[in-house]
C-alpha cells in the first residue's frame, strides 16, 4: 500500500492523521469513526493489522537512554499484567535509543 494512495483515501474518509514508520502505516481518527474507517480501508486495501482505541498525548516528552530503559521496564510489566488491556504514554524516543534497547 503506497503512502500516497492511502493518504488520499483516509483523508477523504475522515482520518485525522497518517504516520508511516519502517513497517507500517498508522492511521488516526475520531473514536466514533474507527469501525467505519477500518471497514472502508479493509474493503479498499485489504486486511489491516490492528484497529483499537488509544490515548494520544497532546504533548510528548523526550527521554534519554537511562529514562527510556526504566520506562520500558515499567511499560512491559504493565503490559504483561493479566488484567491490563492497554497502556498509553506520552514519551518520545529517538530511533538510536530505541534500537539500543529493543
Amino acid at each position: 500500500v503506497s503512502e500516497e494512495n492511502l493518504f488520499d483515501f483516509v483523508v477523504e474518509n475522515g482520518s485525522q492523521d497518517l504516520e508511516t514508520n519502517e513497517d507500517e502505516h498508522v492511521v488516526y481518527c475520531e473514536q466514533s469513526d474507527l469501525n467505519n474507517l477500518n471497514e472502508k480501508i479493509i474493503n479498499k486495501f485489504g486486511q489491516t493489522n490492528s484497529s483499537e482505541l488509544i490515548w494520544k498525548s497532546e504533548n510528548t516528552i523526550d527521554v534519554n537512554k537511562d529514562t527510556a530503559e526504566k520506562l520500558f521496564k515499567l511499560l512491559n510489566s504493565l503490559e504483561d499484567n493479566e488484567d491490563v488491556q492497554g497502556v498509553s504514554s506520552n514519551f518520545e524516543v529517538s530511533e538510536e535509543i530505541l534500537s539500543l534497547l529493543t
Binding site: 494520544k56 497532546e58 499484567n81 497502556v87
Partner: protein, 145 residues
C-alpha cells in the same frame, strides 16, 4: 505516541511470541465479552462488538475463541463479569502513563498495578490527573507491503 506505537511493535515482535499471542487473545476475548455484555450479542446492532471481532480476526484469533468469548459475555458467570477500570500514573521523570484494565476483581488489580508502578520508581495518581493531557483516538495500522 509515534515512539510508543513503534516501541510496542518492536516489543511484540521480539518478545516471547507464544506468550504474547496467548495474552493478546485473552485481551481480545475480554473486549468481546464486555462488548456483548454492554451492547448485546448481535454484531449488526453492536458496533463495539463488530469492532472487537474485526480486531480479533485481524490478529488471526481462532473462531472458536471468538465464539467462546461471545458466549461468556451472554452468560452470568461471576468470574467473567469484567469491569473496565482506568489507572493513571507517572513513571520515571514524571512521564505520564495511562493503563486500561478489565477485571473481575478491582481490589486485586489496583494492588498489582500500584506495586508495578512503585517498583519502577513511579506512582499512581488520582483518576483524571493524567488523562487531561491526552485525547481518545482510534488507531488503525496496516503493513506497508
Amino acid at each position: 505516541m509515534a515512539g510508543h506505537s513503534k516501541f510496542k511493535n518492536i516489543m511484540h515482535r521480539k518478545g516471547a511470541q507464544d506468550k504474547k499471542r496467548a495474552k493478546i487473545f485473552s485481551r481480545l476475548g475480554r473486549e468481546i465479552s464486555v462488548a456483548v455484555k454492554t451492547g448485546g450479542g448481535d454484531p449488526e446492532s453492536n458496533i463495539r462488538l463488530r469492532s472487537a471481532v474485526s480486531a480479533a480476526k485481524a490478529l488471526n484469533m481462532p473462531k472458536d475463541n471468538i465464539e467462546r468469548a461471545i458466549k461468556k459475555g451472554e452468560g452470568n458467570d461471576p468470574d467473567s463479569n469484567y469491569e473496565e477500570v482506568r489507572y493513571e500514573g507517572y513513571g520515571p521523570e514524571g512521564i505520564a502513563v495511562i493503563v486500561e484494565a478489565m477485571t473481575n476483581n478491582k481490589n486485586r488489580t489496583a494492588a498489582e498495578i500500584r506495586s508495578i508502578f512503585s517498583k519502577s520508581g513511579g506512582n499512581l495518581g488520582e483518576s483524571g490527573s493524567v488523562s487531561f493531557g491526552f485525547k481518545r483516538l482510534g488507531i488503525i495500522t496496516l503493513s506497508k507491503n
